[in-house]
Amino acid sequence: MSEPILTLVVDGLQVSGLASETILKVARENDIAIPTLCWLEGLSSLGACRLCMVEIEGSPKLHPACVTPIQEGMVVATRSERLHRYRKAIVELLFSERNHICAVCVANGHCELQDLAVQLGVDHIRFPGRSPQLAVDASHARFVLDHNRCVLCMRCVRVCGEIEGAHTWDVKNRGIRSLIVADFETPWGLSETCTGCGKCVQVCPTGALFEKGRPVAETHKKRPFLPYLMANRAREHR
């Protein structure tokens, strides 16, 4: 039995997709841009950052587009004054959470958090910075983890577990005290599980994970490697 094809309306545009597809996937295929941060093609979807929230006609709630399957006849709005207001505030909350000082960041100019700020018109942060005192783990020979710039998107945790299969990264504590850790909070360089593949560095949206030896603003990340890797892996295994 082939998968049914459903039609729906996104931002006034009549579009169609497979029943198993999400609003985000269908929107992107139709060049409708929805802001995302935790979502990354090739990784499982979390629905965590709440930036891809959309309005669905008939539902008072907002729905994360990355995990909401499409339905026949659905009418979706990806933009509205309300959505814009919420997305903006969420990005501001992220800036206030840790020490994001773009001017001295390796990822300056190549940072998804910075891009989101531009995209959403965030020109200042209304909330006072929490200014936590966080460590920088430079124990690895080639890479650095700077917690000050981490947005807890879990891309590193997912790529390491789901793609590399090492599960070196996980999260310590919970809530506002959450921190990415390797193994038993082992310094990265001493981790027994890390293969040094660097996938986590490539998927990190900010300057939290970076390669050593690159000056400020010169960290470029290769992000689209994941879909290629997945497709190729499927071919090679056949």
């Binding site: 000082i101 001017a103 960041c105 910075q114 018109g121 200042h124 942060i125 910075g129 005192q133």
Partner: protein
């Protein structure tokens, strides 16, 4: 067209934003046609004037003196513009916020190898515990992020202001630009 009275203020910053203003080069002359520079580290004036139309403020608020100067500027200016990341987010001066002012002074004056390590007893402003952006103290009318915001960006904003179109379309700048 009446000339607008323009003031600029330099709080806790590196003066890079003021340099950006100077980077407008020969177009400074165009600005001079629209604005009268009434107060600025770039011009010779001791006191903030009674009434300014626009004040551009560079730098974070790091000391009690900064707070006083900022409040005074706000009180005497129609439009207050936060220029550059330090004024907008705290930026580099705010790097000390995680540990506080005293720890920063120790790091700067005592922990570095030096001949006679000591924290100067005079000539240091009384620091606030945190270095903060302007809008934590006063109402800010326009934010121009960037480290520093480019000369073009400042020019666009000032030209727009003079023409009465600011805030207008978003400026092509961002945090860290």
């Amino acid at each position: 067209m009446t000339m607008l009275r323009l003031a600029t203020l330099w709080l806790d910053g590196c003066s890079g934003c003021h340099m950006s203003l100077l980077d407008t080069d020969e177009r400074l002359l165009d600005l001079a046609a629209m604005y009268e520079f009434v107060h600025s580290p770039l011009v010779d004036s001791k006191h903030f004037p009674e009434a300014a139309d626009v004040v551009l403020i560079e730098g974070a608020v790091s000391s009690h003196e900064d707070v006083a100067r900022l409040r005074l500027a706000r009180h005497h200016s129609r439009l207050l513009i936060a220029v550059g990341d330090c004024a907008v987010t705290g930026n580099v001066p705010a790097l000390r916020n995680a540990t506080g002012a005293a720890a920063m002074l120790r790091t700067v004056y005592l922990d570095q190898p030096a001949l006679n390590p000591q924290i100067p007893a005079t000539d240091l402003p009384v620091l606030l515990e945190l270095a903060l952006p302007l809008h934590h103290f006063v109402t800010v009318d326009l934010f121009i992020p960037g480290c520093p915001p480019g000369a073009e960006t400042l020019l666009t904003a000032l030209t727009g202001l003079a023409a009465g179109t600011v805030p207008g379309p978003p400026l092509s700048t961002r945090f860290g630009a």
